[in-house]
Amino acid sequence: MALVRVISSDGAAFLVSQRLAKRSGKLKTEIETFRKSSDNSEAQPEIRIVTIRAEILRLVLQWLQQHQNDPVLPANQNEQDGRGDAEMGQSQWDRDFLAPMDLGIVMELILAANHLEVKGLLDITCKLVESKITGRTVDEIRTAFKLKSDFKGNEEEQTRLENRWCVEN
C-alpha cells in the first residue's frame, strides 16, 4: 500500500495511505506534485502542513478514515434538491465525532477542512457552528465565539435601531 507522511505544524508525523490522503484536494495536489518532481517512483511523499497543528490534523485524518468509502457529492448538490450537503452527509458517527468538541476546536477544524479541501467535513462543521448561532442573542454569540464589540461611536446603537426597524418589518 502506497503511503504518505503528513506532518503537522508542530512536527507530529502521520503515516496514511495515499488513497485516503487523496480524499483531500490539497493533499492530492501535493502528492501529484511530488510524483512529478521525484525521480524515484517508489519514494514516499512527505507533506508538511504548516498551518495545522497535530491535534486538528489527527481529527481531519480520523474523519477522512471514517468517510473513505463515501461517494463524492457534486459541489452543487444542495442547489439541486434544496437540502444542504451537511444534512445529506451527516451520520450518527459525525454527530458523535463532533459532540465532545468545544467551539474553538470546531473552528480550527473548519479552517483545516478549508485548507485541506475536505468539503464534507467543512459542511458538517459549518452546520454545527450555524446551530450555535441561530436563535442566540448577540451576547451569547459573542461569548461563544470569544468576540468583543469593536464598533466605533454610535455605530452599535445605529445598527441596533436599523435592526429593530428592519426585523419588525
Binding site: 508542530d10 451537511a86 441561530t134 459573542r142 435592526n163
Partner: protein, 424 residues
C-alpha cells in the same frame, strides 16, 4: 558505576533551555482567536436560514456586521428577483416617506425611516439591504399605519432631517432594488433619480399617478432636450415590476429598458395598456401579466409582438374575475401562450375557467406545447375534474413533469385582491 549528578549550572541545564527555545520557535499557528477568513465566515452565515438571526449577527462586531449585511442584501435581491408566478405583495423596503401630498423633487418635506437617520455619518451606507423605497404619502397600507410602522417612534438627539439628494449622491451606487410607491411623479423626476443608481437591478413602480397635462407637456419638452440614454441610465436593470400604475411612466420606462429586461411583471388595471409593440424584449425570460378586465387582456394580446420576445421561458397570466366583467377564456390564454411554444417551459394561469377547460381539452387547434414541463392551473374545481384534466393535458403538454392545481382555499390565501383605487 556512579550516577552522574545533575548540576544546576552544568551543560544539562543549558541544553534544556535551548530545547525549550527551539520548541517555542517551532512554527506553531495560533489557536482559534475568534476570527476566520471572510469567505468562511460567509459560508457559515449563509447556512443561517433565519433572517432575524442574521440581522442580530450584524450587532456582534464590525467584521460580522459587514458579512451579515452583505448576505442580507444578497438574499433580498435573490428573493425579489426570483420568479414568482403568483400575485405578490407590494414590498416596502427601508424607505423615505413624504409627508406632503405632492411629491416634490426638492425633497424638502421628506421624513426618513430609521436606517436613514445617520445619513451624514461618513463611514456607513445607511441602506442595510441596498434597497430603497420612496413612498409619496403617509397614511395606511394594508391596514397598517405607515407613519407608525416606518417612522422612528422616538426621535433621539441625533435625529435630523435627511438630505435625500445627498442620499442618492452618496449611496446611489449601493442601491440594487428601488421602489416608487404611491406618488405623483414625472418621467423627468424618475430619470433624475435613476441616473444616480448605476447598479440598479430591480425597479418597481406601484400606484404611480400621472401629473397634470400642462406640467406633463412642459416636462416632455425637457425630457426631449435631455435625450436620456437608457443604457447609461441603468445598465444593470433586468427586473421590472409594475403594479397599478397609470400608463405614462410605464410607456416611458419600457421604451428605455425593454431590450435589457429579463423579467417583466405587470399588474395592470387601467386602459390603455402600455405600448408593448414599441418595445423589443430580446432578453425577456419571465413575463407575468395580471389584468382586471378582459378588454385589457385582449389588448395585451394584440400589442405583444411574439417575434420580439424570442427567449420567453416562464409565463404567468392572472385575471381578477370575481364579479368584474366577462372572464378571460382559457382558450384565449392558451392561444396567447402557444405563440411562445418554442421556448416556453413554465406556464401558470389563473383565470377561473377550469370547467370550460375540461370541455375544451384536448384541442388540436391549440397545438402542442413541446417544452412545457411545469403547468399550474388555479381553482380547477372538484377532484374528478382534476383527474380528467391530468389525463387530457398529456396531449397538449407531452413533456409535462409537474402539474399543480390550486384549490379554492389556496386561491384565497395566495392572492391579494386589489384595493379599490383609481387615479384622480
Amino acid at each position: 558505576m556512579e550516577k552522574p549528578v545533575e548540576s544546576s549550572k552544568g551543560p544539562t541545564r543549558w541544553l534544556k533551555i535551548l530545547q525549550q527555545k527551539i520548541e517555542r520557535l517551532t512554527l506553531n499557528p495560533p489557536r482559534f482567536n475568534g476570527r476566520i477568513p471572510p469567505e468562511l465566515q460567509e459560508f457559515i452565515l449563509e447556512k443561517v436560514n433565519d433572517d432575524a438571526t442574521l440581522w442580530r449577527c450584524r450587532l456582534v462586531c464590525s467584521y460580522w456586521n459587514q458579512i451579515a449585511s452583505s448576505l442580507l442584501a444578497k438574499r433580498q435581491l435573490d428573493n425579489r428577483t426570483k420568479w414568482n408566478p403568483r400575485l405578490s405583495n407590494i414590498f416596502l423596503s427601508p424607505c423615505v416617506i413624504s409627508q406632503s401630498k405632492r411629491w416634490n423633487i426638492s425633497y424638502s418635506s421628506f421624513k426618513a425611516s430609521l436606517p436613514l437617520r445617520y445619513l451624514d455619518d461618513e463611514s456607513s451606507n445607511p441602506l442595510p439591504t441596498n434597497s430603497l423605497t420612496i413612498s409619496g404619502k403617509s397614511g395606511t397600507w394594508n391596514g397598517e399605519d405607515l407613519d407608525k410602522k416606518y417612522m422612528p417612534s422616538a426621535k433621539g438627539p441625533s435625529w435630523k432631517q435627511p438630505d435625500v439628494e445627498k442620499l442618492f449622491t452618496k449611496c446611489g451606487i449601493f442601491i440594487t432594488t428601488f421602489s416608487l410607491h404611491n406618488l405623483e411623479i414625472t418621467e423627468l423626476e424618475i430619470s433624475e433619480i435613476l441616473e444616480k443608481l448605476p447598479n440598479l437591478v430591480l425597479l418597481s413602480f406601484s400606484f404611480l399617478e400621472p401629473q397634470s397635462p400642462r406640467k406633463r407637456h412642459k416636462e416632455e419638452l425637457q425630457l426631449e432636450e435631455w435625450k436620456v440614454n437608457p443604457v447609461k441610465l441603468c445598465p444593470n436593470l433586468t427586473h421590472v415590476k409594475l403594479k397599478y400604475c397609470t400608463p405614462e411612466p410605464i410607456f416611458w420606462l419600457l421604451r428605455l429598458c425593454a431590450n435589457t429586461l429579463i423579467s417583466l411583471d405587470i399588474e395592470y388595471c387601467f386602459d390603455p395598456i402600455p405600448p408593448l409593440r414599441l418595445s423589443s424584449f430580446k432578453e425577456l425570460r419571465e413575463l407575468k401579466i395580471c389584468v382586471l378586465y378582459r378588454s385589457a387582456f385582449t389588448e395585451i394580446l394584440s400589442k405583444f409582438v411574439v417575434n420580439d420576445v424570442p427567449l420567453l421561458r416562464n409565463l404567468s397570466i392572472i385575471m381578477y374575475t370575481e364579479g368584474i366583467g366577462a372572464p378571460v377564456l382559457t382558450e384565449e390564454v392558451l392561444s396567447f401562450a402557444h405563440a411562445f411554444r418554442d421556448t416556453l417551459n413554465y406556464l401558470y394561469f389563473d383565470v377561473h375557467e377550469s370547467d370550460m377547460l375540461v370541455k375544451l381539452l384536448p384541442r388540436r387547434s391549440w397545438g402542442i406545447f413541446p417544452l412545457v414541463t411545469e403547468l399550474v392551473i388555479s381553482n380547477p374545481g372538484s377532484k374528478w375534474i382534476v383527474t380528467k384534466l391530468k389525463k387530457k393535458l398529456e396531449l397538449n403538454f407531452p413533456k409535462l413533469e409537474s402539474l399543480q392545481f390550486h384549490s379554492d382555499c389556496e386561491w384565497h390565501h395566495s392572492r391579494v385582491k386589489p384595493e379599490p383605487w383609481h387615479p384622480r
